[in-house]
C-alpha cells in the first residue's frame, strides 16, 4: 500500500474547477515528480495536501488512514511539510526562530530556551549538509536564495514523512540547487517521500523515481521516470504534440545601435558593465543567479541608482526613474521579475492595467477619452491573445501566463522600441512560453531591440542571438553563434579563465 493515495480529488473555486477528479499515489522512500503546465492543478493538489486549502470532493489516504486536514498545523502533525514557492518566512525573526517557529523548546516559565534552540538548529543543518547559514541572522537580511534554503530547513524541522518541494530550486544558484537535488535523494533514502515540482526537466530526470503528469485539473498519466521519454512527457503535459518550443531564429539585427551602455555601475552589484544592443537583436543575459543581472535591469530602467553612460538610439540619456525611461518610441520598457508585486494592479481591471503607463496617449488636455482607451485595449488584447472574459475582469483573476501577457501589453503600448524582459517565462506554462518566444522574435523582426534575462540555459541558447554572461557583477564574456551553447554559458558563469 502506498504512503499517499489520492482518489478522485475535486476542488472548485466558484465556477472554476481547479481539480476535477485527480488520482495520485506515491510511496515512501521515493522522489516523485509532479509535472504539468500552470493551471494544471499541481499547486492546488499540494495546497490541499499541506492543509492550506480544503478539498470539495474525493478522498485522501495517508499511511492507510483518512486524511483531510483543516489547517497547515494538522498537516504538519500528520507528517506532511510543504515548501512552497511563496515563502512563509517572517523577516523580523532570526533564521533559527523561523525554522522552529511555533515549535520552540520552552522553559518552565513558557519562554524559549535559547541554547536548546541553537543546538537543535545546528544539529539539523549539519545532518543534511546545509549551505552555511547564521542562525542568529534576521531573515530580512538574507537574499532570496538564502531564504529558500531556510524555508527548506523549516520544512525539515517537523521531521516530516512527506516533504513537498514546489519549484524549490528556481531561485537557487547552481551549487545550492545541486545540494537540494542531492537532499531529495538523501531524504528518500531515509524512507521519506519527496514530492517534487519543477519546470526543469533536467532536474526531474536527475532525481525522480516516478512522475505523475497533470493537465487541466486531471491526472493524465503516471510513469516510472526511466521508462518514459521527454517527448511523451511534454505531449502528455500539453495534450498535443508540440511542434517546436523555440521559434525559428532569423538574423534580424541591423547595424543600428539601439542601446549603448558604458561603464555602468549599480550600487555594489554591478561593476563597470559595457555593452551594446542593436536594432532587431535579441540579446540574452545569463549567468548564475544573484550576479547582478537583476540590478542591471533595474538600473537601466531607472529603478536603481546608476553611474555610467547610456545612449539610446545614438542620443545620450540619463534615466533616473521608470517614468523617465518610458518616454514613448525612444524609451526603454521593462517587464519586471515579479509580475504580481511589480507588474500588475491585481484588483484593477485588465483594461486599467494595460493603459496605466500610457494615460497620455488617450488624454487630451488632461481629460481621458474612453473611446481611445478602449481602442488601445482591444489592440493589445487581440495582438497578444490575452484570455479574459472581458477587459473589465480584475487582473488578479487571470492565469499566470495571461497575467504576464498583460504586463507585456502594458509595456508594448508605451511604444518603447527597446524592451527589457526579466525572466519573462518564469512560472509560465509551456504553451504561453512558446508564444512569448515567438513574440520576442517577431518584435525583433519589426525593429525592436530586446534584452532579456533568463535563468534557463536552453532559452538563452535557442532564443537569443547573443548572450552576455554575467559573473560577480561584470560581463564575463559574450557568446554568439556556435559559441552560444549551454556548456559555453555555464563555463563562463563559473570559471575565471576562458579558453581563448
Amino acid at each position: 500500500m502506498d504512503l499517499l493515495e489520492v482518489n478522485g480529488l475535486v476542488k472548485r473555486y466558484g465556477g472554476i474547477v481547479a481539480l476535477g477528479g485527480v488520482d495520485f499515489s506515491a510511496r515512501a522512500g521515493e522522489v516523485h515528480a509532479l509535472l504539468g503546465e500552470n493551471g494544471a492543478g499541481k499547486s492546488t493538489l499540494i495546497q490541499i495536501l499541506a492543509g492550506a486549502v480544503r478539498h470539495d470532493g474525493g478522498r485522501i489516504r495517508l499511511d492507510g488512514a483518512d486524511y483531510a486536514p483543516v489547517n497547515p498545523d494538522e498537516a504538519r502533525a500528520r507528517g506532511i511539510a510543504a515548501v512552497f514557492q511563496e515563502l512563509s518566512l517572517v523577516p523580523d525573526l532570526t533564521v533559527e526562530q523561523n525554522i522552529w517557529f511555533r515549535r520552540e523548546p520552552l522553559s518552565r516559565l513558557g519562554t524559549v530556551r535559547g541554547k536548546a534552540l541553537r543546538a537543535r538548529t545546528l544539529a539539523l543543518l549539519d545532518r543534511y549538509g546545509f549551505p552555511h547559514l547564521a542562525p542568529e541572522q534576521e531573515v530580512r537580511r538574507l537574499t532570496l536564495a538564502e531564504r529558500q534554503i531556510v524555508e527548506i530547513a523549516k520544512g525539515l524541522a517537523s521531521d516530516p514523512k512527506i516533504l513537498i518541494l514546489d519549484e524549490a530550486t528556481s531561485t537557487l544558484p547552481a551549487r545550492e540547487a545541486e545540494w537540494v537535488l542531492n537532499l531529495t535523494r538523501q531524504l528518500a533514502g531515509e524512507g521519506r517521500l519527496v514530492v517534487f515540482i519543477s519546470h526543469r526537466m533536467g532536474e526531474v530526470r536527475h532525481i525522480a523515481d516516478r512522475l505523475t503528469i497533470f493537465r487541466n485539473g486531471e491526472t493524465v498519466a503516471a510513469h516510472e521516470a526511466n521508462a518514459v521519454s521527454d517527448d511523451v512527457i511534454v505531449s502528455q503535459m500539453l495534450g498535443r504534440k508540440l511542434a517546436r518550443l523555440y521559434p525559428e531564429r532569423r538574423a534580424t539585427a541591423t547595424g543600428r545601435l539601439a542601446l549603448e551602455v558604458e561603464h555602468l555601475t549599480v550600487g555594489k552589484r554591478v561593476h563597470d558593465v559595457s555593452f551594446a544592443l542593436r536594432e532587431g537583436e535579441v540579446l540574452g543575459v545569463g549567468g548564475l543567479q544573484g550576479h547582478g543581472q537583476r540590478e542591471l535591469f533595474q538600473g537601466l530602467f531607472g529603478a536603481a541608482r546608476v553611474k555610467g553612460r547610456l545612449a539610446i538610439w545614438g542620443k545620450p540619456v540619463a534615466i533616473n526613474s521608470p517614468r523617465q525611461a518610458l518616454t514613448g518610441r525612444d524609451g526603454l520598457a521593462l517587464v519586471p521579475e515579479d509580475r504580481r508585486g511589480q507588474g500588475l494592479l491585481l484588483s484593477k481591471s485588465v483594461r486599467e492595467n494595460l493603459t496605466v503607463a500610457v494615460i497620455r496617449r488617450f488624454a487630451r488636455r488632461g481629460l481621458l477619452s474612453q473611446r481611445k482607451e478602449a481602442a488601445l485595449v482591444k489592440e493589445m488584447v487581440d495582438f497578444l491573445r490575452i484570455k479574459a472574459a472581458t477587459a473589465e475582469q480584475p487582473a488578479g483573476t487571470l492565469s499566470g501566463g495571461n497575467q504576464q501577457k498583460v504586463v507585456f501589453g502594458k509595456m508594448l503600448l508605451t511604444q518603447a522600441r527597446i524592451l527589457m524582459l526579466y525572466d519573462p517565462t518564469r512560472g509560465v506554462d509551456v504553451g504561453t512560453k512558446g508564444e512569448i518566444f515567438q513574440l520576442m522574435r517577431d518584435l525583433a523582426a519589426q525593429g525592436y531591440a530586446i534584452l532579456f534575462y533568463s535563468s534557463d540555459l536552453p532559452e538563452l541558447v535557442h532564443v537569443a542571438d547573443r548572450v552576455l554572461v554575467m559573473r560577480n557583477g561584470a560581463i564575463a564574456t559574450t557568446l554568439e553563434g556556435d559559441a552560444n551553447t549551454e556548456e559555453g554559458i555555464l563555463r563562463a558563469a563559473v570559471f575565471e579563465k576562458q579558453a581563448a
Binding site: 523580523d92 519543477s198 552589484r269 563559473v494
Partner: protein
Amino acid sequence: MSERGVNMSSMTADSGIDRPPSARPARPAMDLRALLLDHAPFLVACLMLVVIVAVYGSLQSGVFSLDELNLDTTATLTLLLAATGQTIVLMRGGIDLSIGGMVSFGTVLAATRFGGDPGSVILWSAIILAIGFAVGAVNGLLISTLKLQPFLITLATWSILSGASLIVLPTDGGQVPAWWQDFGSAAWLGLASPVWLLILLLVLWYWFRSTRLGIAIKATGSNERSAFLSGVSLTRINLVTYGLSGLFAAAAALYLTTQTGAGSPTIGKDYILPSVAAAVIGGVSLFGGRGSLAGTAVGAFILTIIGNLVFVLHISSYWQPVAQGVILLIAVLASSLAEKAARGQDQ
C-alpha cells in the same frame, strides 16, 4: 525534442568556483555597525531623552534625583500604560484608536461605581479590566472575521465607547476614595509605586516577548501571510492583541483616577495619538514586527518631560505640542534613514 535543464553534476563542488557575495558563507556574526543600525530608532530616542533631560537639568535644580524620577514616572504612567497596549497592537501590524474611548469609559465607571468600600473598589477594578479586555477582544474578532481594517474598526468602537462614557457620566465628575488616590504617593525603598509598576511592566514585557505567543504576535506583524502559512491562527492573535490593548487602556484609566480623583467622559481622546507617538518615537515600526516596550517607555518619557522643559524655559505651554510633533518627525526620519543605510549595506 528534449528540454534539458541545468546539469551541474559535471561541475565539482570545489574547483575554484568563484562565488558571488550572496552565496558565500554568511557574514561573520553581526558586526557592530549592523547592530547599531538595527537598533537605531531606539538609540536615537535614548539620545533625545538624554539631551532633553540634560537641558532640563541645567535649568532646574534637583532634576537628577530620585524625587524627580518618581515625579516624572507618576506623570508619565497613564500614557505609558496606554502606549503599552498600543505597542502590542503596533507590533501586530495594526492600530487601536479605541483606547481613547476605553480610557474615558474606565474613568467614568470607576468614578461612579467605586463607592468607598475597598471590596467594591477591588471588584469594580477587576470588572473594568475585564471589560477592557473583552471590548478589545471584540475589536480583534471584528477585524478577523470581517477582514476589515483596524483603523476603521477601532475608530468605530472608539465612538461607541465615547458615547457609552457620556451616557454613564455626562460631565466630568464622580468620586474615588481618598486612599485610592494615594497610590501615586506610596513609596517603597525610595521609589514611588508608579516606578515599581514601570519596572514590573518591563519585566513582564521581557518575559512575554520570549514566549511563543509573543513571538507569534511579532511574526504576524512582520509578515501576516507567512504567519498564516505557518499555522498561526490570525483570529486568536487578533483577539489576544487587541484584548491586551483594551486591558492596558483600562489599566491606564484606573491609574488615571488615582491621579485625578474623578472620571471624565472625554479625557481618553488625549491619549490616542500620543500613545502611537510614544511608541513610534521609541522605535516601534508602524508596519509591525519591530519594537520594544523599553523604546515606548523612552518615547513616553520624552513626551511628558518636554512639558517640564517648556515650563522651566518660561515659554508658552503651547510650545509643548510643537516640540512633540517635531520630535516625532525626527524620530521617524532617523529610523527611515537607518533603514535605508541598513539596506544599502546588504546590497
